[in-house]
Amino acid sequence: MANMQRTNVELDRLALQHSFDAKKFFIRWESLLVVILIGILVLNVVVSNGNFLGSQFFSAANGFMDKSFIVLSMAFVLITGEIDISVGSTVALSAVLMAISYNAGLPMALAIALCILVGAGCGAINGLIFVKFRELPTMIITLATMIIYRGVATIILEDRASGGFPDWFAEISWGSLGPVPYSVIVFALLATLFAVVLHKTAFGRELFAIGNNKLAAQFSRIKVNRDLFVAFLLNGLMAGVCALFLTSRMTSTRPNIADGYELEAIAIVVLAGIPTTGGKGNMTGVILAVFIIGFLRNGLGMFNVTSPVMSVIIGLLLIGTVLISNFFINKEKKL
């Protein structure tokens, strides 16, 4: 990852000027994330009496993989300096339409395709509105579509559950290759793909350029509108993939599923070191952050920590990490 190496070279240069090694270590965001992840893994091992090292590792991972797909594309959106809070609703709408159409007689394979397409469609609508009305901030656009997508899902299904899928459908999320769940394999493939696109292609370079300086990107003949449209489209597409795995894991769906997924995805991306102002960050951080939050929830769950308390702890972790890193970066800047 050329981009990442380069940033590290820069930090090395910065760090060389100082003898205290802790600084050098902590100003590298990913190092900090690795430390936190190791701590959380140890916590999991201890709390589970060692079971975590066996079967529990993958079953725990399987539990948070579905929302992790969205994190990958959300990273793209945030790198451009934009935001998308509609993905939770997109998941619900995709899942509901899949369930409804299957129960109305559509073959399951086509219903799955529909689920993904609806997700991509929702993302495309966000992107299109943004490109056509550049004066509207994406926060407002996706706030509106967040309400609309969720509303449509609720109108269609009302407050009911819909399921009754064929047995093989559950295999998508419950099946595994050896000990490794399909969801983890798909995530690994997609994460690699997103990392390569972001760090190894001109498109990735364009996303960073747009996040740093939209006007300069435009003057540099980058198709800013097209790139932003693609970022939103991908985010919707990943929400469709999430809907598929989530529904498979739950075996049925309701219009209120995936509530708050958008905020958790954004929190993970920010923890990964991508500021909401865009232009910085890398996929290694994103993947580390996915596992940090996922396993933290798992470990706390084993402590019987309730969901609201968990949210508080995750919030504190987010603030704490950002503060620690800022502390060391600012110290560097002052010198």
Binding site: V9, K200, T201, A202, G204, A209, A217, F219, S220, G279
Partner: protein, 507 residues
């Protein structure tokens, strides 16, 4: 102090100031004195240490060595608050005002006038006092206007009024004319002289020689963090001044080359965009430098942005090598061989956080793409070649743009443009905010490019540059081309007349 009669006359005096940043001496034994009621120009290239020096005076930086005296009394400023209380105010090049607040609100921000025990804001007195201050400067701005509605020049007047509202006795103006037109600069000179007449002492920082000649009583030059000297303005020539600033003599600032001029490369016919410009027709030949000049706001940049596809024209034709082309966006422009160096390099051309090489690569991402992947080593090779060719001063091509001087940043933008195969290059104010040494280098590059057969459209407000570099000169006024000159028949007076007078006489 009576024992030292030579310094009795100074209101502010700095002696042997040294300021060290990790690894660099930013100021090396610099001395300076400001007399009561004088306008003292502070000149020097970018990076000469002018900004650091100002920051020492205002208390932003604490010097490692040297002393500062105010009214012959030694002072130490720990913060800008200290210097403000001592009566020193600084007006920065980029207005620090709040665009949504009114003039009066901006002027009294931080030292509002209160009424009664509840400390109720007394807007009536604040507006009245603001009006007084503006009147004393000879400005008729309405104090209820919001700052955002004002031009850069008008904002500066408000900044001056703000400085006066704090009872400043010393006002530092940091490159105030950098973003102003000729006319606006002249207005500013007038306000500055009024300020001087009211007994304020002024330190005036600028790149422009006109400013110094027009306003300055004395001038102090800094170069490479060192004090070079102080002169009476009326006793120093242009050549001496350049020598002092650059450290070498620039015998020919405008190395205009004799180039064989070829076929027409760009032709525009009846370009029109409602409200911005109309009836724009001209052509540029291979190897030719054509200037588009006029006042800021005459529509020059808008014409450039239309040709480059940022904001396409409503009607009219653009021809490249005689064939009509359709340019809807910058990508189309690049494909037809048109490149643009935008007016505001930091906002429109560069990513300041990125290295030189990545910024150069940004000029043509498609070129460095090999199938699916982006080829970083190809980009770096090209960046290295261009950086050497244009003599970009940096330790490596991996230096951040933000660490470069204005002139070197501009060279990076030129390198960025040259990554693409072009026929026509539009340069929009290419020497804005760069020092005289970098200017000469940019003119040199322009000469080389024209020799290589590029057609160049130069948009510029700087008269010497227009006269020195162009083969032909087009003058715009209120969205129309009002005059055309060849280099032989162009004079400063004729160009100015076409830029300013034409319609005023008519109306």
């Amino acid at each position: 102090m009576a024992e030292n009669p030579s310094t009795v006359n100074s209101i502010l005096r700095l002696e042997h100031i040294t300021k060290i940043f990790p690894g660099v001496k930013a100021l090396d034994d610099v001395s300076f004195d400001l007399r009561p009621g004088e306008i003292h120009a502070l000149m020097g290239e970018n990076g000469a240490g002018k900004s650091t020096f100002i920051k020492v005076i205002t208390g932003v930086h604490k010097p490692e060595g040297g002393k500062m005296f105010l009214y012959d009394e030694e002072v130490h400023f720990d913060s800008t608050r200290d210097s403000q209380q001592a009566g020193i105010a600084c007006i920065y090049q980029h207005s620090t005002a709040y665009p949504d607040l009114t003039i009066a609100e901006n002027i009294f921000l931080g030292h509002e006038i209160f009424d009664g025990p509840l400390k109720k804001l007394n807007w009536r007195s604040m507006h009245a006092r603001a009006k007084e201050l503006l009147d004393s400067l000879g400005s008729e701005l309405d104090t209820k206007t919001t700052m955002g509605e004002l031009s850069v020049a008008q904002q500066q007047i408000v900044e001056i009024a703000k400085a006066l509202s704090t009872d400043a006795k010393i006002i530092i103006m940091d490159e105030p004319t950098a973003a102003l037109t000729k006319q606006e600069s002249e207005d500013l000179y007038r306000y500055t002289r009024r300020l001087q007449a009211s007994g304020v002492s002024i330190i005036f920082i600028s790149h422009r020689f006109e400013d110094m000649y027009e306003l300055g009583d004395r001038v102090t030059v800094l170069r490479d963090a060192q004090y070079i000297g102080t002169w009476d303005v009326d006793k120093i020539t242009n050549q001496e001044m350049i020598l002092a600033m650059v450290g070498r003599e620039i015998t020919n600032l405008f190395p205009k080359r004799e180039v064989a001029i070829g076929d027409i490369v760009l032709e525009v016919k009846n370009l029109k965009k409602t409200g911005l410009f109309r009836d724009i027709s001209f052509h540029v030949r291979k190897g030719e430098i054509v200037s588009l000049t006029g006042l800021i706001g005459a529509g020059r940049s808008e014409v450039a942005e239309a040709i480059f596809g940022i904001a396409p024209a409503d009607s009219g034709e653009i021809l490249i090598d005689g064939a009509a082309v359709k340019i809807q966006n910058p990508t189309d422009a690049g494909a037809t061989g048109i490149g643009l160096l935008p007016e505001d390099r930091q906002r429109q051309a560069l990513i300041l956080d990125w290295e030189i090489s990545k910024n150069i690569g940004l000029g043509n991402l498609a070129k460095f793409k090999r199938k699916f992947f982006y080829n970083v080593s190809h980009e770096e090779e090209e960046a290295q070649t261009l950086a050497e060719k244009l003599a970009i001063k940096a330790s490596t091509i991996f230096d951040k743009i933000s660490s470069l001087s204005g002139g070197n940043q501009q060279k990076v933008v030129i390198a960025k443009i040259l990554t693409t195969d072009l026929k026509l290059i539009i340069l929009d104010e290419p020497t804005k905010g760069v020092d005289v040494g970098a200017k000469a280098a940019i003119y040199e590059i322009m000469g080389e490019l024209s020799e290589q057969g590029y057609g160049i459209l130069l948009i510029s407000s700087e008269m010497p540059e227009v006269l020195g570099m162009s083969d032909r000169i087009l003058v715009m006024k209120s969205g129309r081309v009002t005059a055309e000159f060849t280099k032989e028949n162009a004079t400063q007076e004729a160009i100015l007349a076409a830029a300013i007078l034409n319609t005023e006489i008519a109306s």
